[in-house]
Amino acid sequence: MKLKKTIVFMAAACAAFAAHADITVGVTLSATGPAASLGIPEKNTIALLPTSMGGQKVNYIVLDDASDTTTAVKNVRKLISENRVDVIIGSTITPNSLAMIDVVAEAETPTISMAASARIVDPANPKTRWVFKTPQNDQQMAIAIAAHMANAGVKTVAFIGFNDAYGEGWYQEFIKYADTYKLKVVASERYSRADTSVTGQVLKVIAAKPDAVLIAGSGTPAALPQVTLKERGYAGRYYQTHGIANNDFLRVGGKNVEGTFLPAGPMLVAAQLPDSNPIKKSSLAYIAKYEAAHGKGSISTFGGHAWDAGLLLQNAVPTALKKAQPGTREFRAALRDALEATKDLVGVHGVFNMSPNDHLGFDQRARVMVRIEKGAWKLDK
């Protein structure tokens, strides 16, 4: 009798489980290693994402890939084979995200990357059918900088960037558009984020007498070239990339980074956006939520990319649930289709309008030019 009861109970439990399988979201991000300053706010943001979508419970499995390509791929394999995830969010940086494409395409698992390079969702590649991303492409940002320079009457530009994929990627994008805007790149220097001195590079830049300097680095390491340039008396215009958009940069740069221009997601200056901009409300809501959990001033735009990934999912999951149950191949395919069909979704960094050829879906609303003024970010015009 007792045995029979147990069997009935177990059968009922199995039936219930099959009917209401939870949605499993696998996350791999770079919470340690060189990209930790990007990965940590993303990780904090994942913890704030909703625990239920379309009436289904959502479980998040968060793994750290230590900014390492091999670990990222290992994490993805583990998430797919052991945890049977329905969707993957990650990774933080471009090399990791590129390496993950093959694995997720093979397992037919939709993936939302939080890294910048446009190559991650390159439409020419059939494997990237399964991959989406939330950060603005470097290209959009490079055009913004080149246009801003041209408008300000800049003719010659010097470039100082990281000696890694970030700096190199920016250099390639920037020289592409420099020609279009009749800018001459007179010096191109590299440094490493761990360098304690960039005097050599800076002297070479100053010797080339450029009208403006573009520094392509991310986080606080991007402050060093600018501080050294200031100390050596360079008086031209300073441009930085959106990689510096966190408050630690302002803390380390201090008065040496006053007057710097950078392109950024609108989230960075959300409070200064006009009320008519739909992104304002969305951004402020996220900032309030994040700062309530992690303290005032803790916000970073990188966490916004993780939040946007969550918004995309919340938008796509109800549609996919109508077609199939979580945990199945059909659900993953339906989720992919629903993500690709995202229309007019207001995120914190822009408005998503996806299509089979555009797995980012941002337009010009996804970036603004920002100036650093009195130790704060100011919307430039």
């Binding site: 360098d195 002297l203 390491p221 060093l224 050596r232 201090g254």
Partner: protein, 345 residues
């Protein structure tokens, strides 16, 4: 490239080279006395600088917790050993150094407000928190293996390094910090301007080197360290404790590391993982000196600094390649000129 640029680069190279020189001296010292290739040397640079930056930002540095934790661990191990060995009279000393001292440091950090201290007091307090970690690390990680081969000690060093880098990220976060400079003065010497901080770095490095020289030549502890470095067994027969020598060399290495970090924090941004690369460049200097000669190691480190400055001007993308390639001709030259002595296993 004109004279002015050459002078500026030279000044930059010597400033960085001075720091590398200090670290290379510490590496040679630790290797000579304990045969440990001290990879975590760089972590002391980062910990020293970031602890000071934490005080200035009005935060409690994580190194305080590390000091308390390491102190408790050392006290547990030592008290157990003392009780087993029937040397219970050593217990008050163990408790004093490993429990009372960190507690006193914690009391100062919490009861007084370190962010209102003058800079000098902040520096002393930062050193007081970071430097004792050196001997504690020796006690926990290296002393039980003191007779092991160089390779085993190297593997332990790698493990300690990785653990400390992880702790550094936990304590200080991923973003870097700068501290205000010791002096805002700058001196115009015709073609070039020399900043006060540069003079501080070079001056303090020279002073530290002189103090170390006097320590080794004139004091009984210094002589004990030299004796241990020359012949461990012989030194023991003469009544020199190798444990004491090991702890003392780690204390000096931690002091040199943390002080170097405090010296360069106003010039550059320090991250939780900056120390490793700085330590590696010091290591290149130490290799030039064959991990044995102090003056040659210091000269090698200055050479690394200069090479780095000039290569960052000419070929910035290949700077690290050029600096670390320096090690190859040096190794070739050393292996051709010196007779290799197999280590006893």
């Amino acid at each position: 490239m004109d004279l002015q640029i050459a002078l500026l680069l030279g000044q930059d190279g010597i400033t960085n080279g001075a720091i590398y020189a200090l670290l290379s001296l510490a590496l040679v010292l630790v290797f000579a006395v304990t045969r440990v290739i001290f990879i975590p040397q760089g972590e002391f640079v980062a910990f020293g600088a970031l602890t000071l930056a934490s005080f200035q930002a009005g935060k409690t540095p994580g190194t305080l917790w590390l000091l308390i934790g390491a102190g408790i661990a050392v006290a547990l191990v030592d008290i157990t050993m003392a009780l087993r060995g029937g040397a219970s009279r050593r217990i008050p000393g163990i408790v004093g150094w490993n429990l009372a001292y960190p507690a006193a440091a914690a009391a100062i950090v919490f009861l007084l407000k370190p962010n209102e201290f003058p800079l000098l007091a902040q520096i002393v307090l930062a050193l007081a928190l970071v430097v004792p970690l050196g001997p504690m690390m020796y006690r926990l990680a290296y002393q039980p293996l003191a007779e092991a081969s160089v390779l085993v000690l190297l593997i332990v060093s790698v493990a300690v390094h990785l653990a400390l880098v992880g702790l550094g990220l936990l304590f200080f976060g991923a973003e870097g910090s700068r501290t205000p400079s010791f002096s805002d003065a700058s001196f115009n010497l015709g073609l070039v301007t020399v900043s006060g901080q540069t003079l501080w770095v070079v001056g303090a490095s020279l002073l530290l080197i002189v103090v170390l020289f006097i320590f080794f030549e004139r004091t009984i502890y210094g002589k004990a360290l030299r004796a241990t470095a020359m012949n461990r067994t012989g030194a023991r027969l003469m009544g020199i404790s190798t444990v004491m020598a090991g702890k003392l060399s780690f204390l000096l290495a931690a002091l040199i590391g943390a002080f170097s970090g405090i010296l360069i924090a106003p010039i550059t941004t320090i991250y939780y993982d900056t120390g490793f690369l700085i330590g590696l460049k010091g290591f290149v200097g130490a290799i030039v000196g064959g991990l044995a000669s102090y003056p040659v190691a210091a000269a090698g480190a200055i050479l690394v600094g200069l090479l780095e400055a000039f290569s960052s001007f000419w070929a910035s993308a290949f700077k690290e390649v050029i600096v670390f390639t320096l090690i190859i001709p040096v190794l070739v030259w050393r292996s051709l000129t010196t007779r290799h002595v197999e280590e006893d296993e």
